[in-house]
C-alpha cells in the first residue's frame, strides 16, 4: 500500500526517537504538545506499520577492540551463476551492512575487524563463501555516521 503520507507530528516523533531512542512517551508528549497516551498510540502505530524498524544502542567499536573498518565491493567470478551472495555471507558476523548496488560491482559490504590480519582472513572467507572477487577500501576515520535524515 502506498498510503504513506506521514504528517508532521509523526515526523517529529520519528525525528526525536531517531535522535534518542530511549526518550519516554511523557517527554515525547511535552515535545509535541500531545498527551502521553496520544504519543503512546502514535508510536505503537508507527512500530506496527514498520515505519520504526526497531531501536538500538550505538556502540563505540574502537573502544571495543574493533578499530578497523572497511568497505569491500564484491563481483561474481562466474556471472552465469545466480547471485545469492547476501544469503551466503549472512553468517559472517564481521559484515555490518550489505548493499546491492548499480555499477562495476554487485554488492558493497561494510565490515569491522580488530587487525589487518583479521581483514586478510575475512577477505579469504568472503571470496570462498560467495565465489566473488573483492575490492577493499579502508576506512581511516568516521567524521559522522548514521545521522538522522528524517
Amino acid at each position: 500500500m502506498t498510503q504513506s503520507e506521514v504528517e508532521s507530528t509523526d515526523r517529529r516523533i520519528l525525528e526525536l526517537l531517531a535522535a534518542d531512542g530511549r526518550m519516554s512517551f511523557t517527554d515525547l508528549g511535552k515535545a509535541t504538545g500531545l498527551s502521553t497516551s496520544a504519543v503512546h498510540q502514535r508510536v505503537k502505530r508507527l512500530e506496527s506499520r514498520g515505519m520504526i524498524r526497531g531501536y538500538g544502542a550505538t556502540i563505540d567499536h574502537e573502544q571495543l577492540g574493533l578499530p578497523l573498518a572497511a568497505f569491500i565491493s564484491i563481483r561474481p567470478i562466474d556471472p552465469s551463476q545466480p547471485d545469492d551472495s547476501p544469503e551466503r555471507l549472512q553468517g559472517i558476523r564481521e559484515i555490518e551492512s550489505c548493499w546491492s548496488v548499480a555499477g562495476e560491482e554487485s554488492y558493497i559490504l561494510k565490515i569491522r575487524v580488530p587487525t589487518p590480519a583479521d581483514l586478510e582472513d575475512l577477505l579469504a572467507r568472503i571470496r570462498s563463501a560467495a565465489n566473488v572477487a573483492t575490492r577493499t577500501t579502508i576506512v581511516l576515520s568516521t567524521p559522522y555516521e548514521n545521522r538522522s535524515v528524517v
Copy 2:
C-alpha cells in the same frame, strides 16, 4: 569476580542493547543474571565512558519518502588546498554518513533523497560546497544494514 567475567557481562549488555535499545534494566538483569541495580550501574558506566554513544530508532526511509540511497565518493579538485570537506558538508542534511578512506578518493558519503532529480541537485551542492569531483554509486536494495558486530 575476575576481570574477564566483568568484561564478558558488559559485552553481553552491549550486545543486548545494540539489538534492542529500549530493553528495560529489569530484562537486562534477567538476561545477565544480575540485579536491576547492578545492570543500571553498568549501563550508566558504559554510557559515561562513551562505550555506548547513544540510542536511536531505526526508521524505514522508503516509507518516509526517501527511497533513493547512494554512495558518493569525493576527491578534491585542488589537492594543494587543505581538505576540510566534512565540515563544509556537515550542514547538508541529505548526507547520512561521511567516512574518510584510503584509496583513489578521499571521502565516501552515504546519502538519501526522494528522487533522481534531488540526487542531481544534491551532487551540484556537494561539488560546489567542498570543491570536489564526485563518483556516485546507486543503492538498489539493502539486504541488511548496521547489524551489531559486538
